[in-house]
């Protein structure tokens, strides 16, 4: 259960030159086809094993939603086929089909019926739906009095009341308040642990990285890449900045990470090193140690302005810390071909135990989306170890100092 196999999938919309051509095509027997097909998705092929979680990324209009709609069955593919095993639940456009004049409870029943459930089943699930949605007495008020967040809560609770074999999520996680976002994400995680296959479309990098085993990159209706989430997201990131004359290349590093380098190449990163107090290159730093991130840059064409930025990421790709010289008011101006610069960022290693990577960017302004001279993921990979301090959990070291004072116990007068 929970198997998804997509083969040779494609979707085209029919476009007729005039409004009459469709009528002509329908009515005149053996007439030639009068429409041309506008392909929005082509040659999509992948297979997802039960219990796997796959993220789909891509720019707007790349075909993500069309793909999901075909998998859920609302839209029919033009060619190719989709094989699904097990019960599918889709979190697309939560709250669709809610009727404003009916109460939350009635709408929940309605939504359940739309998923093919019988009233008895839904009534049995109702207490659990109510307690998860946490909207209190509002469950018996008309939905038109709900805030959009409350509607979302109810819709999510109904859609996920039973664990599906396949769960399809389209940007649904970005609605609702922070508390409910966490809660819904936790539910998805628990489904995943219990063996549900996940298919997620999201622009939230950390959501995809923290939950998905692999990712699919769609670009102009085609599958541009299918692989580990970090690699796919880095590649996507690089594609986002794509301009004329840019190169994007990916290499496998010794540690198995895929390094993505992209950019127009007016400036390039020559070396990246992590140094200790004595300027010795290290690949493991102690928690609390003073270190220096040293980056050497070469200018290969005259450019008016140069900003170097770096981001430290944990092994899941979540950002730990990032800064650039634009924000530090240290951008360089009027650079000439052949010049070399050495940047030294010195800081105290405030990260917890683990593996971290450094992504670097050379650009003209604050964002690498403007002029991207070079963007480099996995420019450096280092470890943080903890031998000097007590063991702690989490990814940041805050060096808490603890004081404990004892106060007198309050004794009641009536105590015998």
């Amino acid at each position: 259960m929970g198997h998804i196999r997509v083969t040779g999938l494609g979707k085209a919309y029919k476009q007729y030159p005039t409004r009459w051509s469709r009528l002509a095509e329908w009515l005149i027997p053996f007439s030639p086809l009068r429409h041309h097909q506008h392909w929005v998705l082509q040659n999509v092929e992948f297979e997802i094993a039960p219990g796997e979680a796959v993220g789909i990324v891509g720019a707007n209009g790349a075909g993500k939603s069309t793909l999901l709609k075909m998998i859920t069955g609302t839209t029919q593919p033009t060619c190719g086929k989709i094989e699904l095993e097990g019960r599918v639940a889709a979190l697309l456009e939560l709250g669709m089909g809610f009727h404003p004049d009916f109460t939350g409870r009635q709408n929940a029943i309605m939504a359940g019926q739309l998923l093919g459930m019988q009233v008895d089943d839904i009534e049995a699930l109702m207490p659990q739906i109510e307690s998860f949605a946490e909207i209190g007495e509002a469950i018996d008020h008309p939905v038109r009095t709900y805030s959009s967040g409350m509607q979302m809560r109810l819709a999510f609770s109904v859609a996920t009341a039973r664990r599906p074999d396949i769960l399809i999520v389209d940007e649904a996680l970005s609605v609702g308040d922070a508390y409910f976002q966490h809660k819904s994400f936790e539910r998805i995680r628990s489904f995943r642990k219990a063996g549900t296959t996940l298919l997620i479309v999201s622009h939230d990098r950390s959501a995809i990285q923290s939950i998905c085993d692999s990712a699919i990159l769609l670009k102009d209706g085609c599958m541009a890449m299918y692989g580990k989430p970090e690699a796919v997201l880095d590649y996507y990131n690089a594609l986002m900045a794509e301009r004329e004359g840019q190169v994007v290349r990916q290499e496998m590093l010794a540690g198995g990470e895929v390094q993505t380098v992209s950019g127009t190449g007016e400036a390039a990163i020559l070396s990246v090193r992590l140094l200790d107090e004595n300027d010795r290159s290290i690949d493991a730093a102690e928690v609390g140690q003073s270190v220096v991130l040293e980056v050497q840059v070469e200018v290969r064409q005259d450019i008016e302005r140069l900003v170097l930025g770096f981001i430290l990421k944990d092994r899941l790709g979540q950002m730990m810390y990032g800064i650039n010289t634009h924000r530090q008011d240290k951008a360089l101006t009027d650079l000439h071909t052949g010049e070399r610069y050495t940047y030294r960022f010195s800081f105290v290693m405030g990260l917890g135990k683990g593996n971290y990577s450094v992504s670097l960017s050379l650009s003209r302004l604050d964002s690498h989306l403007d002029r991207n001279y070079e963007w480099r993921d996995y420019g450096l990979v280092f470890h943080v170890i903890n031998n000097r301090h007590e063991d702690f959990v989490g990814c940041s070291w805050l060096a808490a100092k603890t004081t404990i004072t004892r106060s007198e116990a309050i004794v009641s007068e009536h105590t015998p």
Binding site: Y13, K14, T74, T75, L92, H99, F102, I109, Q113
Partner: protein, 265 residues
């Protein structure tokens, strides 16, 4: 194919019954008198037609010397026409009205026409119930022939379902269909002997009206209510054949275009 349609209908029976129920609730939810309105509406219709046509216009049915007779004749025809108009008009818009649902949620599409049919059937049953009460009250109870109501209704529903399905699917691709059918209904109404009796027409017009499949159906309703006569079953053959053909065309059209339909909404 029919079997798979039937099976998906069965598994979504909760949704179908729920939708029917909700449609009724939604109509009267924010009203003070609630359930009274479905009764008051047809009642007012019966009164208006009786007063205007029967008393003010002094209309009489040829051969029957009774002021109530014409209003019974009129109501019988109007109620049957109402069922026909409700199903076809609602069917032609059912896919367009539910565009949002169709685009976002995957459910057996064949539920929609079934919901329309059941809803119209219930509305019809309410009005007919009232009308029968009226007949009983005025001492015009038609007797055993009333049993013919069931096959007549079934026949009419089949015809309407077929026509409605064809219109519903076509209307998604060619919105003109909806406008056109609205106009057609106007002509169709007056080309069916509802307000006037067949017998006042010249022979050649009567023969022309026989081409209208609804003519004999409506006449059967009227004869049943007014004279307690059983329908002449052979006269209903045209509407039966047209109904079957329309259903076949409708099903074929639906099956061919149901996937493409979502792209056009």
């Amino acid at each position: 194919m029919l079997l798979s349609l039937y099976r998906s209908l069965c598994s979504y029976r909760g949704f179908i019954l729920g939708s029917v129920q909700r449609e009724f609730q939604a109509r009267y939810r924010n009203s003070l008198f609630g359930a009274l309105w479905p009764v008051l509406n047809p009642l007012s219709m019966i009164i208006v037609y009786t007063v205007i046509f029967s008393h003010i216009m002094r209309a009489r049915l040829p051969g029957v010397d009774d002021s109530m007779a014409y209003s019974v004749y009129l109501c019988g025809g109007l109620l049957a026409w109402g069922l026909f108009a409700e199903i076809t008009l609602r069917s032609q818009n059912m896919f367009l009205e539910n565009a949002n649902l169709l685009k976002k949620i995957s459910f057996p599409r064949v539920c929609l026409p079934v919901i329309v049919l059941i809803n119209a059937g219930i509305n019809f049953a309410i009005i007919i119930g009232l009308f029968l009460g009226f007949l009983l009250f005025t001492g015009r109870w038609p007797g055993m022939a009333l049993l013919a109501l069931i096959p007549l209704m079934a026949l009419q529903m089949m015809f309407c379902a077929g026509l409605g399905m064809v219109l519903g699917v076509l209307n998604v691709f060619f919105r003109d269909v909806g406008q056109l059918f609205g106009i057609c209904l106007q002509f169709w109404f007056w080309l069916t002997p509802i307000v006037y009796p067949m017998s006042i027409l010249p022979d050649w017009v009567q023969r022309l009206l026989q081409l209208n499949p609804l003519t004999n159906l409506i006449v059967s309703y009227q004869n049943m209510f007014l004279y307690g006569q059983w329908p002449v079953w052979t006269s209903l053959l045209p509407i039966f054949v047209t109904g079957v053909v329309l259903c076949l065309i409708g099903l074929r059209l639906f099956r061919q275009r149901v996937g493409e339909m979502v792209d056009e909404l």
